[in-house]
Amino acid sequence: MTDTIRDAVKAFVIENFLFGDTTHAIDDMDSFIETGIIDSTGVLELVAFIEDRYGITVADADIVPANLDSLARITAFILSKTASPVAA
């Protein structure tokens, strides 16, 4: 599940922000901002992708680098949003 999400997000990033350039290696922990992959408009594109693909709503308060600034963070964020609620 984790790998599937990670791979899908990575494919989106490569296609949409790197325009298919696979020579640009992206490690799971690489910061999208520090590496110049994503700008302010790019974050909004990324949020739209996550909402469309995974059927979740990303609240304004969730649009922070801690949730979205690397493959690992996005994967964890999507998993947390799509996980089934645990019965009390």
Partner: protein, 645 residues
């Protein structure tokens, strides 16, 4: 205002070459042409008659025939200089400013440039000492390019004249391309053309047999941060500013033809128009660009200002498709790739001015550099403010206030705002601190460079080179002054005055004049304390104070709206021009060898489907398209290298 070309050295068929060079820049001087040849020198001139209509023909020689000049531009203080020279016994045959330079050179040699208040580039042949003097104005308003072929030096107002010289090859300079895709402009003396240089602003070149020397005769400088301020009294400073600006405008109204004025609706051109309106016998004509898109259009302010001044106002509409329609011509005149389409509406505007019969316009250009008007100055201040409290969740919200016109920023959290602007981890001692987010954001466009181009650049860093060009005193200046220097010394001549200024105006034989770039005003403003220019987050504070009685309050208090034009959306969608598809198609991009064709295709597709693409995508799209058009216009058939015709 004109164009010229010439050479130093023995050239076979020199007259014929001069005719070809001058014909290539005939748009700069449609009124008449003239030529001069000597044993080892030649000058050709295309004239736009503005001062001394009947007797100002060029090249112009002195009475001995030993000194001959080809001159582009205006010497605004020529009246005063002529009187001073007459008092010394000098006799004048013409009413032109050109003859003043000849006499002044004869009197004191090449240091005469220090006495000139004007926008100029000239080539002066001194037959006595068998040497050629090339000079350029302080701020870089007028252009001057040169190249060498063996022992010979060729020079001209535009590069297309140099391409007439046998052996000169139109080849893209990869370093210049890297600089454009990082800094928005090449770092002079480099140009987009490999082997063709630009004489830097405020520089003198002396060429004689066996030697070429280049030296600055003036430099932009700011006081040391700890030095006592020269202007502490705000009211006195405002009064002095007003007097200087009024005089700068007055001497720029000198012409034997009517002078008009651009009127964008912003503070700066409103000030120059208001001052000029009181000095224009018969009334002032003003000119504007309007846009279909509300985010770019300022027509309400333009009309308000034109009504307030009672000017005869004309506007040219820039609608869907208009930018694409002229863009290939824009690149042919700009002679370089560009990352924004903003020059295109100005190309249309100068055509409108020409159609109304005017040759000269004032503009408000330069005020943002001189009085700290750009958003980037405020951005740097906010970044420093945030950097002092990196954990603050409140301070980054100030970034939103800076760019209310950028929807991408309006919706961002404080954490993202801080990250985008490097507010938390930025090196405060970075000499490029103020510009680092812009440079990094722009350099992201190099993602599209081909593997071959990347290999040729082999790790070159344009920002690093920029740092090596900073003066030793730079580190002692206030951060605002450091940021102002970066704008005024590099981007102003490298892009604003050239790609957006001289080249777009002269494409239709229009001379722009810039009161805010009078060197007396530039020096005065540089010495002002930073807080008089940028007070808190209010830009151009002292300028507003000095001119508040001149303008309606809605204009005087208006926050700066940067001049922008639609970028990638100008070239996509229904009605897209065929040349765009061809220039960005796989075949031409591959033939050019500069960009990755697959990535370019994806970018084209993305911009076609998402017209609200971000800065990086827009800059890349316009940069790649303009580079491809540059190749077609100059190197031929999409190849990055070709012999000139």
């Amino acid at each position: 205002m004109c164009g010229f070309g010439g050479y130093f050295g023995a050239v076979r068929d020199g007259r014929a070459l001069l005719e070809r060079m001058t014909a290539a820049i005939a748009h700069r001087g449609p009124d008449e042409q003239g030529f001069f040849t000597a044993e080892v020198a030649g000058l050709g001139h295309a004239r736009l008659s503005i001062v001394g209509l009947e007797d100002g023909q060029q090249p112009m020689s002195d009475t001995t025939g030993e000194l001959t000049i080809a001159f582009n531009g205006e010497i605004f203080n020529y009246v005063e200089l002529r009187e001073q020279l007459r008092a010394k016994g000098r006799q004048f045959r013409t009413a032109s400013d050109t003859e003043v330079i000849l006499h002044l050179y004869d009197e004191i040699g090449e240091d005469c440039v220090s006495a000139l208040n004007g926008d100029f580039a000239f080539a002066l042949w001194d037959g006595r000492r068998r040497r050629m003097i090339l000079a350029r104005d302080r701020m870089g308003v007028r252009p001057l390019f040169y190249t060498r072929q063996g022992e010979r030096l060729y020079f001209a107002s535009e590069i297309k004249a140099l391409l007439q010289v046998p052996g000169v090859v139109a080849e893209i300079d990869p370093i210049a391309l890297d600089q454009i895709f990082t800094l928005w402009a090449p770092i002079a003396p480099r140009t987009a053309f490999h082997g063709i240089c630009e004489l830097e602003p405020a520089n003198l070149m002396v060429v004689q047999e066996g030697s070429v020397s280049i030296r600055p005769y003036w430099s932009l400088s700011y006081p040391d941060r700890d030095a006592p301020a020269r202007h502490r009294d705000k009211r006195a400073a405002a009064e002095e500013l007003y007097a200087l600006l009024t005089d700068a405008t007055r001497i720029r109204m000198r012409a034997d033809v009517p002078v008009g004025s651009y009127l964008s609706g912003g503070l700066d051109s409103s000030i120059t128009s208001a001052l000029a309106a009181g000095m224009a016998p018969g009334g002032l004509k003003t000119f504007s660009v309007t846009f279909d898109s509300a985010e770019h259009d300022e027509s309400a302010f333009q009309h308000e200002m034109a009504r307030a001044l009672g000017t005869q106002h004309s506007a040219i509409a820039c609608g869907a498709g208009d930018i694409a329609a002229v863009f290939p011509d824009v690149i042919r005149f700009a002679e370089r790739p560009i990352l924004r389409t903003a020059p295109a509406p100005l190309y249309k505007l100068s055509r409108l001015v020409r159609e109304t019969g005017l040759k000269v316009v004032l503009t408000g250009e330069g005020a943002d550099e001189v009085f700290a008007g750009y958003d980037i100055f405020k951005e740097a201040r906010v970044r420093r403010f945030c950097g002092r409290q990196p954990c603050s969740r409140i301070r980054p919200h100030l970034f939103r206030k800076l760019y209310p016109y950028l929807p991408g920023l309006r919706q961002q959290s404080a954490e993202y705002l801080a990250s985008f602007f490097g507010a938390s981890g930025a090196a405060l001692d970075d000499p490029l601190f103020s510009h680092r987010p812009r440079l990094d954001g722009t350099a992201a466009t190099k993602l599209f460079f081909s593997g071959d181009l990347r290999a040729r650049l082999s790790g070159y860093d344009a920002a690093e080179e920029l740092v090596t060009r900073l003066p030793e005193s730079f580190a002692r200046w206030h951060p605002l002054h450091q940021a102002q220097y970066l704008e005024a010394r590099f981007l102003l001549p490298g892009y604003i005055l050239s790609s957006q200024g001289d080249r777009m105006a002269m494409a239709h034989g229009i001379e722009g004049r810039f009161p805010f770039l009078d060197h007396r005003l530039v020096e005065f403003a540089a010495a002002l304390p930073p807080e008089m220019k940028l007070k808190g987050l209010v830009e151009k504070h002292i300028l507003r104070e000095a001119t508040k009685d001149l303008l309606p309050p809605t204009i005087s208090r208006r926050t700066k709206q940067p001049y922008r034009a639609p970028d990638s959306q100008s070239f996509v969608g229904p009605g897209a021009r065929d040349y765009v598809q061809a220039a960005l198609g796989h075949a031409e991009v591959s033939a050019g060898g500069l960009f990755n064709p697959k990535a370019v295709a994806k970018l084209h597709e993305k911009c076609s489907h998402h017209p609200a693409s971000g800065f990086r995508d827009n800059a890349a799209f316009v940069g790649i398209l303009s580079t491809q058009l540059w190749l077609t216009a100059f190197a031929g058939a999409g190849s990055s290298t070709a012999k000139a015709a």
